[in-house]
Each structure stands twice: as C-alpha cells, then as structure tokens.
Point group: D2
Chain length 293, copies 4
C-alpha cells in the first residue's frame, strides 16, 4: 500500500512513522528525525532528509544501525528472521535458494567481513546480479574501515531509495529504474526485422539463466523494454537473436547450416539506473552492435 | 608412410595394391581397376579413377562395398574390429568415447538406417562435428533409396579423397583443407589490436568445447590459422575475444564491469574446404563482424 | 486559406466550386462531378472522388484536361501565364530560374514529348529534384501512348493530392509528407555525439546545393527532421557530418589532418512519402551508416 | 641513371661528387663531407651521413644552403632557373601551372616568409597535396626562428631522402613509399564484390581531381595499390565506389534511384610513408569503413 507525499506532509509523528518508519531497517529514529523537516517538496527531498538523519547520527548509532541489517544469504535468511522488505530483496536475486557450496561461500565472506568491519555486508541486491554481489563482496573486503563505512552508507542510500519509491507517491520521484532495449535492423533488405525471437540471459559464473523472451514488432523493436520497470542489475548478460529463422522464413540463402543462426550479444551493465540500448544490424553474413541511445 | 605419384605410376599391380589398396575399405578390386588406367597426371586423377571404378561396378558389388563399412560409433568401434583408417577417423570426432546415452542414440539410428537402406550409415567424419553428424543422420534417414545411395557414394568420395591425400604425394593434389582465420581491428585507435587472447569453441548441443587458443600478433592476426591443415568440420562454433583485457591494458574507460569483456562471435561452417575469415572490428562500446575473405 | 471538410460537405455547388474548383487545373467539371458525391467521410475520399471524375470522363475531355497544363519550365513559366498553384510548384524546384542551356534542354524535351503524346509533360514537381525530373522526362519519352497516359494521370493524382491537402482540413488526411532524419552515435565513447554540425546537400548533376543545416542535440539527433513537412523529393543527397571538429573538441587523437574530418553520406530518395533515417556511427577511424527506421 | 651503393663506397671523391653531389641543392660540400665517412653499410646510413654534414656545418653555411633553394612556385619556377630535381618536384604537385590568383597567393606567402626567416619556404612537395602545402605555409609562418629552422632542416631531410632513394640502389633503402589500398566486401551475399569500379579523387579546396581509377578483382581488391610506389601526399581524398552498378548487375532490389549508388569515402592522409587500408563493407542499404591494416 502506498502513501501520497501530500498526505505524509500533513501527518502527525505517529502516523508518519507508521507509514514509512520501516523504510530504514529497524531504525524508527530516522523517520522521527525526518518528520521534523516537513513539508517535503518532492519524494527525493523526503528520502534525502531521511539519509540526512543517518549521516548526522552519532557514530555509535550509525554502527548499531548497520549492525541491524541481516547477513546476506545468511542464517537469518534461512531461518526467516528478516524484515519483509529484506526478505523480498534477497529473494529477488536468488539468495534465499543457494546451494550448499554457495551458501558456505557467502557464509565465509560474511564472517570475514564482520570480523574486519564489525557490521554485516550490506549491498542493494536489487541493483546487482548474483555474480556482481560476489565481486563486490570480495572487493569491499579489501577496503580500509573509512572507505567501507562510506560504501555501506551508499548502499543504504540505494536500498532505502527503492523502498521509498515503492512506498510513497508524489512529485519529484527519484530515478531508480533502468532500461534495456534493443532493435533489429535487417540491412539485407534495409528494413526493420519483424518477428525475430529474442532471448535475454543473465550470466552467472559459467551458467546462463534466461530472464526474458520477446519478439520484434513491425518496427524491429520489442513492444516493451526487455527490462524496464526496475534497476538494471549490474552484471553480465547475453541477448540471443534468432536471425537464422528470420532469413530462412524470407527464403534468403545463408548456407546450411546458416553462417549466422543464433547471434549472441554479450555485454555488461554497470549503471543500474541507465538506459542500455543494444541493437543488432544484420545480414545473413555480417552483423554489428553498439551501445546506442 | 607416403608414396609418390610418380612411383605409383610405375608400379606392378601387386605393388600398387600394396601401396594404396586399403584406401577403399575392404575393396581391393578398386585399386586393381584403377591400376589399369595408369599413368595418372595428378593425384586428383588417381582418386577420380578409383571412384570411377566404384561407380562402374555392378550394383551388388557396390552394395557389398557399402556394407563393408563399420557402423558409426557402433559395436565395431568399441570392439576394435575396424580398419586403422576408420578407427582414426571416428576417434577424431569423439565417436569412440560416447557416453551411454549417446551410444544408444547412435545405435538406434544405425539400426533404423540399416533396416531401411540395407547398409550402414556412412559419413566422412573429418568433415563434420558430432552435432552435424547427428543432423545428417536424421535427415538422411528420410531419403528415398536412390537419393541415399548417391549420398553414401558422395561420402565415400570425401572419405577416400582424404585417405589418398594422406597417402600419396605429387602433382595436382585435391583441395581438401579449409581455413578459419580472424583479425582484430581496434577502431578506437584505428590500429590492429595486438595481444588479444582468442579462444575457439566447437558447440555440441548446449555444450561448448574449446578447440584452439591464440593471441593476436602485431598485425592483429594470429600467426597461424585457427584451423588450417584439415577440413573445417561442418558445425557451430564460437570465437571468444578478450577485448575487455585489451582496452583495460591500454587504460581506456569502458565501464565497471566493462560494457564489452569477452566478445563471442557464433557462426556455422557449411563448406569444409572453404576459407572462413571472421574478423572483429571493435571499440569498448561497439563491434562488428562479417564473413570476409 | 483553408476550408474544413465538414463545411465542404454542406456547401452548394457554387460555393463548393469556389472553394476547391481550382484544385484541378482549368477543369471546373471535376469539382462539379465530385460535389454530387457528398458527403465525404475523409479528405482522402474527397480527393478520390475528384480523381474518379477524371478517370470516368470521356477520353477527349481527359486529353483536353491534360492539354490545359502548362509546359514544364516552358514559355508559360517565363511569361507568367500559369495558375498560381502551378507557378508555386514549378518555382519550388528552381524551374522558374533555369539558365539558357537548361531552359533549351527542357524546351526540346517538351517539344518532343508533345509531338509524341499530344499533351505537355506533367510531373508532380514537389516530389522531385531537378535531376529526377530530367531522368523522368527522358524515360517517359520512351513510353507507348497508353503507358504514358496512365503515367500522366498518376502525376495528376500526386499534384492534386498535395493541392487538396493544402486547401482542405479534416478527418482522414492523405499521407503526403516524407521524413529525413539522422542520428550521430560516437562509438568511441559509447554515447550520442552532441553538437555535431550537419549539412544536407541536394545533388544536381555535378553540383551540390546546401538545403539544410542543423546541429545534433543531447541525444545525438536533430531537434526537427532535416526534411519533414513536405514530400521528400526523389533525387540524390549528401549529408555532411563535421566529425573532425567533434573529436577535436574532445581532445581525441585523430591524425593531422584528421583521418575523418567531414564525413559525407550520399544516398538517394525513391519514396517521397517514406521515412528515411540515415544515422552515422563513428569513431575517429571508422564509421557506418544504414537505412534505419 | 642510378648508382650502386657498393660502387659509391669505392669511388674517389670526384667520382663520388659527380654521382650524388647534386642530391643536396647547390651544396657540393655535403657530398665531400659524407665521402670521408665511407664505406656506408646501407643507403640509409649514406643519407644520414649527408644530413650529418648539414647539421654539423656552421650556421652561416646552413643558412646559405637554405637560401640556395628556389621559391616555391616562385619566379624561378616560371623562369626555368631551377635545378632539374627541384623542377620535377614542383611540377608533381602542379606548382608549375598555378593560375594567377594562386601564383599571387604563393608569392605573398613567400615574401612574408623570407622577410621573417631570411630564407625561402622549403617543403618536400612530394609528401604533400597543394592544399596541405598551403596549410603548412600558413602554419609555419607563425613559428619562431628556431622552430622554423628545425622545420626547414626536417624538410631538407625528406627531400634529399627521396633524391638519394631515386639515385642510389643497395642494402638498407630508407622506407619512403606509402600505400593506399582498399577492399570491397558485399555483405549482402557474404563474398568479395567483384568488378566494382573505384575512383580516387584528391580534394583541393572545393574541387576534386580524379587521380586513379581501378576495378575490384575476384578477391574484392585492386590488383595494385591505388597509390603504392611513392609517398602518399598529405591531404584529403575521396574514394568513390560504384556499388549501385554492382547490385544492379546482380539483380538486387535497391530502390529507383538506388538508395546507394556511388558511395564516397572521404579521408585524409597524415603519414606519407604509412599504409592506409580503407575498405568498404556494403549492402544495398548500409555500409561501413575503417582504417584497416
């Protein structure tokens, strides 16, 4: 259930805390501090005020706040002792269903991280694939304490920004969604390629998980972005285009088997809130791609 | 051990048969018939004369000849009851080391094929990947008898041409080798990309087997073709280019993770004796490929 | 001054003729015949009704109608004895300001055409460049009488469709405008190229006339189509992109003089009502283009 | 007439001077100084020894040497009072046939240059187009004396290196020639484009002078480089490819007029001794080019 910014701006403290107090994990004092700054001209300003409260808090309170976050893929996840928001976030990337080996790997990383920094590893999982979470984990373990403290707060910023956007409606929404789109041009006939089957895979180690399927429309595009209403998780992807079927259905000679059948375009996302346009220009004998706009 | 065409042209029948009689599987009469046509101006002419003997033979002898060939990946292969030439050919594509499921699949296909046509399935395995052998097997099972008889003789042509080339040296060698080459242009700086690691994979079902590795030289090419001294087996391939490492080593901004890291080019070979030039033109944000020359 | 279709549908014959009677050159009977078919559900239907009257007329009347059209670039043009609509159309393509040699060439073609077909050469000049008018003229002179009669009526269709669109507003307007657009992607940095100066030239024989200038915006596009609110004249064009300046202003090494400075893309338009998207993907050392969508 | 390095190494001073004394314009002392350094292991070493003599000479002698060079496109050129080597060099770029306006422009630049630096403007014209000579002239007029003195000696280096290469044969020839090559790939059918007419134009101001014509062979290349046995003059060029004719002759639909007819590739040369490979990959609806290798 969402709440309107205009209404929030009018609320008493108890109502305000009831409405968005859980946005910051187990830290009702954040909403309290933000409440004092009403009214907010935009949802972005509301979120900034809440982050401001975290940044202005004494170090002990900040650390206590960070400690309140669950282990990533930890025992809390398995035992069910997480807030609903954390549960939903961790399941989005498959962290609630790791095999024993991966569970053990996360467990070891968590232990090493907590031993070094005194709080659990925090990352905005909705902005990552499983692969990039592991990469981040290993990189951040090398940080010094000050750098990592800042990194953890930055992740809190990303996590709570998404929660605020999911909870509050109104003016000045932060930009939290990315977009992945494509376009298939058949340069053999100089027209958009219609009816081409496209599959999107997320790469994880040596495996590839199909996460979307689409077909090009009369303009050679997909009716909806391949990913569009959420952040683009940082990570590696492959788009597969069934161009062999496309040219076969048009009766074009292309070799047997066709020189090009499934064309894979492999690329990485590093800006979860960005627009990635990854088109394919192709003939039966050539193709090109680029990061477009 | 090879024999010179000039010497063959001078040999008595017993010597001639001893030298190349085994080229045609268990059919010494082929060499005998060819011997009568000496001298041969070229190795191609020698092979044509031998094939001519097969084509001119009475139907019963032709069928007996086809029946003399071993089952593909059959019990003969496992039991060791094949000619050395057949053994070596079948092991080249992994047919001597199938798992039980694949062995059973080949066994079923062989039985169906022999029941329909009266002789075992014959294919020039050096011109195929395991995938394309299965594709051929299933397609050819649908043939009528006359079409398939011609197809089987055509495969005999390919098999024996390779055996003749391996055995005889001299003028007018048949063209039996294909060539797979590549070239990496860094269009970010307008120069060949030097030191780029390239891997070549053969695709088999959903699996990929690495069959070659190379590194680009100062001209952006590989010192030797990726495949060059044998037929290019019909099938599907992927070339992997480590362009992320290339641009990273030059200090070029490319995102983190890089938009392009490993670029896969997936293509199929349909002409085993052809030249496939599959170059990569790339920047950190775009690439293109084509069948070149 | 325009008139609304809804009003036309209500008019008496004199008012109707007064409003759109001149659409068909010196042929008031066309409007009269169309008036009897009121009401029209769309502007397209109105125009079809008028063309229907022409097609249904007796041959002598049709020929008289064709004869009523002025010579292209003829003495009428110079002497001023044309309808206003014809004057404006002919000047759009420069036919009112030919040099003596071109005037003489048109004059000779006109004479030959009239001698062969018995009526002047009619072409919808707004759908052509001067070059393609000459090409059409020479081709159509080779027609037999029936083919050319049909061709002349088709041109009447195009001419009057544009006049109707200019005169009448309402539902179901015919699609008479084409669109020429472009897009510049800087694949050296993987972003749209901003601030690139673009010039559009129309080619005429060996000469080139600049007909539009623009600059790319933050998305690498031009704010408005290079041609957008009229038919795209059939003919040859060159787009010039100042990519040397673009890369120079970003401090990118590109040789001195730069390998690429002004990039010309030369292409032809054959569909005046179509959309031509002609983008440029470039680095300082490479570029590509295609007919896009 | 050429002379062998081995012979030069054996010559007496008078013979040596007679053979190559004129290599350095009106400066026999250069050959004399070089003679003392015999024998030379390579033609490059011979030329270096001669340049070493120039660099080691007292300033007055150096300046006198520079002053001995003719005005570029100056009165000497018109009056015929130049050495044969200078005459041939200046005519190669059209400096002996300037119109009055260009002659006057060169004359003004020469006067300004001599007034500022005390010697005439020296440039290795074989490494330049007329356009780039004018560009160089205007740039170098802005130099301070020391920078320009070094620039003039560098041009002497280029001029005399070409003269030595033209005169002397033997081991270790300096690399003085560049190469311009192309390649046309028809990516509509995945094969080299055969029989495509190619024209090479040198751009001069707004004009274009055709300097070479060729046709692609069975590999899509030209039998000989478009420029290959001399330096590539610094300047701007256009390659024109008749791809419309190519696709028309193959019966491929491409619009009427064809979307692509003559494809111009405009590029500049900045490295006269370099290799410029400028290929064209094209379909009737798309093309790309790049500086290749």
């Amino acid at each position: 259930m969402t709440v309107a910014l205009a209404d929030l701006n009018q609320m008493t403290l108890p109502a305000f805390s009831g409405a968005i107090g859980e946005t910051f994990e187990l830290a009702p004092w954040v909403a309290e501090a933000a409440w004092a700054k009403r009214p907010f001209p935009s949802v972005t300003a509301l979120h900034e005020a809440m982050m401001g409260a975290v940044r202005a808090a004494p170090r002990e309170r900040q650390v206590e706040f960070l400690r309140g976050h669950p282990d990533l893929a930890g025992k809390a996840a398995r035992a069910g002792a997480m807030t609903d928001a954390s549960k939903s976030e961790q399941s989005s990337v498959g962290l609630d269903s790791l095999n024993e080996a991966d569970f053990a790997r996360f467990h070891r990383l968590n232990d090493a991280y907590k031993a070094k920094f005194g709080f659990p590893f925090i990352v905005c999982v909705r902005r990552h694939t499983r692969d990039s979470i592991l990469t981040q984990f290993e990189r951040r373990l090398l940080h010094d304490a000050a750098t990592e403290f800042a990194a953890a707060l930055q992740e809190i910023f990303y996590i709570t920004r998404l929660r605020v956007v999911a909870k509050v409606t109104g003016e000045g929404m932060p930009q939290v969604n990315g977009r992945l789109s494509t376009h298939v041009l058949d340069t053999h006939v100089g027209r958009p390629a219609v009816g081409v089957v496209i599959e999107l895979y997320e790469l994880a180690g040596d495996a590839a998980h199909r996460i979307a399927t689409s077909v090009t429309n009369s303009d050679g595009r997909t009716d909806r972005p391949l990913i569009g209403d959420r952040p683009l998780p940082i990570g590696r992807y492959e788009l597969h285009f069934a161009v062999g079927d496309h040219f076969r259905s048009r009766g074009i000679a292309q070799g047997d088997p066709p020189f090009l059948d499934i064309v894979p375009l492999r690329f990485s996302v590093s800006e979860p809130e960005g627009h990635y346009h990854v088109p394919l220009l192709c003939t039966p004998w050539s193709y090109s791609t680029y990061r477009g706009s």
